[in-house]
């Protein structure tokens, strides 16, 4: 994984020292809240409804066991023994005390971590596929390019004062697990007709109050032209992007207003003016970065493990878990293990310190010391020998981490909502828990099949509800929470924005409505048809009729 160089180390330590001084001055009254607020936000510290919240960055969602143990230590020492993994592949602590925060940051710096919120209207942390470097369907590991873009953008004065924040996601596989169509810029490593690897470039996607899908501006871009081409996009955006209205300043609005064709034309025009070789990093720099993401040293193994096959036929629960939670690895004899943080009725994404330590131990012993955090609020052991799977599963089971529900109805994404978040208009976690309990029976879940339910507690859409097969948005009307349901959203390679099906539901009836929608699908599906496929074939009407007839 990426290791800090001397510059990074010094920088992070200096920021901790600075913040310690700022907290001291805040507590002593030398700084007012107005002066202190932007400083604490820059360090990932928010004031939520009931307490402070510290958001710790996990670049590319990659952690080693030492880092995970440190996160567990912080949860015990400075919080209430747990942490919350988020759709941004971060971890949030919900109860830190202000005077403790500099100490927490010092502990994080010990393991090359920080909470520096790359906030403001700049290019934010680049995100990547959580199975990067391991996935069987991957053309190339996208993370070196993510890191390259991070370095390029952080050093680029021209892009520090954009009209609005800017997010880039990159995937190396045909299956899109990084939701690239929902980012300002989305990149997919793909092969051209003659087998050469390059990027498909999308621009203009986003969630929030005006959800939009990115459009493809280039089908195929040679890899070494990446930064020059991005620079062309950024220039067109910088020139036209609306600074007069915060809600209209995102690139998605520009792409939408100009039209995809005109936007693309302008980008290509600008691109011709750019001196590409000047923008290119020296070849040895990419090699240096790639070294950080070098694959672990795998053992030479046969792809089939007779031991695994035997355990699967002996233990049906284990076989179910393998079926849902384990996916193909590039390397013969290895597998990717997805650890569900979605126990039936639990809080999506929460993990106790004990669970964090258990995962750290497993990573150290069985997964080349690597852990990933997914944007679906789960964890991953990316490099596990197939013959170790049974043992790993047994250990996970003893820690309440063996739910075999990845991608099923109870694998729900939920933002913190009105249980924690000061911007929320309604609660989201209790709704997810209620739905999870209702649909929790594992044979029922398996019968329903692939289903993504996503819940946000306000229009900011942190819970990605626009991309949910079933999306739920919590709002408030006349002092009551109510929930708007959207259907047919998707964040994958067939991305689509969910459509509102009709009037919202109360907190008491929203779970019934979701269940009715699911049952309607089960009644109408054809052989092997997933919920999303069925919705795309049938349209909203049968679902509307079912839901509004019974409510």
């Amino acid at each position: 994984m990426y290791r800090y160089d001397e510059f990074d180390t010094t920088f992070v330590r200096q920021r901790v020292d600075q913040f310690r001084d700022q907290v001291d001055r805040r507590v002593s009254g030398e700084l007012t809240e107005e002066q202190f607020r932007p400083l604490r936000l820059m360090n990932g510290l928010y004031l939520q409804l009931h307490a402070y919240m510290l958001r710790v960055a996990v670049p590319y969602g990659t952690l080693n066991s030492r880092q995970m143990r440190k996160l567990a230590f912080i949860a015990d020492e400075y919080d209430k023994g747990y942490g919350h993994f988020t759709t941004r592949q971060n971890i949030q602590y919900n109860w830190p005390k202000l005077p403790d925060v500099p100490n927490i940051l010092d502990h994080l710096a010990d393991v090359e971590m920080h909470a520096i919120q790359t906030s403001g209207n700049c290019i934010r942390n680049v995100t990547a596929d959580q199975w990067a470097g391991a996935a069987g369907d991957e053309v190339e590991d996208p993370r070196p390019y993510a890191e390259l873009m991070r370095q390029w953008s952080s050093l680029h004065p021209e892009f520090s004062f954009l009209p609005r924040k800017f997010k880039i996601a990159v995937t190396g596989a045909a299956s899109d697990r990084a939701a690239i169509a929902y980012h300002d810029i989305g990149l997919r490593l793909t092969r051209s007709a003659n087998g050469e690897i390059g990027f498909e470039v999308l621009a203009g996607g986003g969630m929030g109050r005006t959800p939009m899908l990115g459009v493809t501006v280039r089908d195929w871009l040679p890899k070494d032209e990446l930064l020059a081409y991005l620079e062309a996009i950024m220039r067109v955006y910088n020139l036209h992007g609306r600074r007069d209205n915060k809600y209209k300043a995102r690139i998605k609005i520009l792409v939408h207003e100009l039209g995809a064709e005109e936007f693309t034309r302008q980008v290509e025009e600008e691109y011709k003016r750019i001196d590409a070789p000047r923008v290119m990093p020296p070849a040895q720099e990419l090699v240096r970065i790639k070294d950080y993401f070098a694959p672990p040293v795998y053992e030479d193994l046969p792809d089939q493990s007779p031991e695994l096959a035997r355990c699967m036929s002996d233990d049906a629960d284990f076989a179910q878990w393998v079926d849902r939670n384990v996916v193909a690895h590039k390397q013969p004899g290895y597998a990717i293990v997805n650890i569900s943080l979605k126990p039936v009725g639990g809080v999506p994404g929460d993990a106790s310190s004990g669970q964090m330590r258990a995962v750290a131990d497993l990573a150290e012993q069985k997964s080349h010391d690597e852990i990933r955090v997914t944007h679906e609020q789960n964890l991953v052991l990316p490099h596990v020998r197939k013959s170790d799977l049974y043992g790993v599963w047994q250990t996970l089971k003893t820690h309440g981490l063996a739910d075999a529900n990845i991608g099923l109805a109870t694998d729900i994404i939920s933002c913190p909502g009105l249980d924690y978040c000061a911007l929320a208009t309604a609660r989201s976690i209790p709704i997810s828990q209620d739905i999870s309990r209702r649909l929790g029976d594992i044979s029922r879940q398996r019968d329903i099949g692939d289903l993504k339910i996503k819940i946000s507690g306000c229009i900011n859409a942190c819970g990605h509800h626009h991309a949910g097969h079933i999306g739920i948005l919590g709002l408030e009307k006349r002092g009551e929470e109510y929930y708007q349901i959207t259907l047919g959203g998707s964040g994958d390679e067939t991305a689509s924005i969910g459509e509102i099906i009709g009037p919202g539901f109360s907190s008491e009836t929203v779970t019934d409505a979701v269940e009715t929608i699911v049952d309607t699908y089960v009644g109408l599906r054809q052989d092997g048809e997933t919920f999303l496929d069925a919705y795309r074939r049938l349209g909203p009407n049968p679902f509307k009729e079912a839901v509004y007839a019974t409510h």
């Binding site: 009254g29 809240e33 004031l47 307490a51 005077p99 249980d419 408030e476």
Partner: protein
């Protein structure tokens, strides 16, 4: 300038040290419990509450003070706004993690 109010009001804020939700009580302390909150029933007394809260901002004990409308019931003041009721109750999930409902956490003001 008198504060325009539509009904009884209490004053709430977050404690600087840990962000905890607190209410200004009649004895001049900030308490985690709403039970002892000083209720303003006139515009003048609402303004007075705000003025008192401002002094605690000056002394860096609390941040973001504001008035909230309450209904006075037999069992005490209850916020009108749903958001405020939730804010007082603390997370409805993980009761064990929830330190908010413990009304004994007063601190001197």
């Amino acid at each position: 300038m008198a504060k325009k109010i539509t009904g009884p009001q209490i004053l709430t804020a977050n404690r600087l040290s840990d962000g905890m939700v607190v209410f200004l009580s009649a004895d001049g302390t900030w308490r985690a419990s709403i039970d002892a909150a000083d209720v303003a029933r006139t515009e003048d007394s609402a303004s007075a509450l705000e003025a008192r809260a401002a002094t605690f901002v000056q002394t860096n004990e609390i941040v973001d003070p504001y008035l909230i409308a309450v209904e006075e019931t037999d069992t005490g003041a209850v916020p009108v706004a749903f958001r405020e009721r939730r804010r007082i109750a603390g997370p409805s999930v993980q009761a064990a993690f929830n330190g908010q409902s413990n009304g004994s956490l007063a601190f001197a003001g």
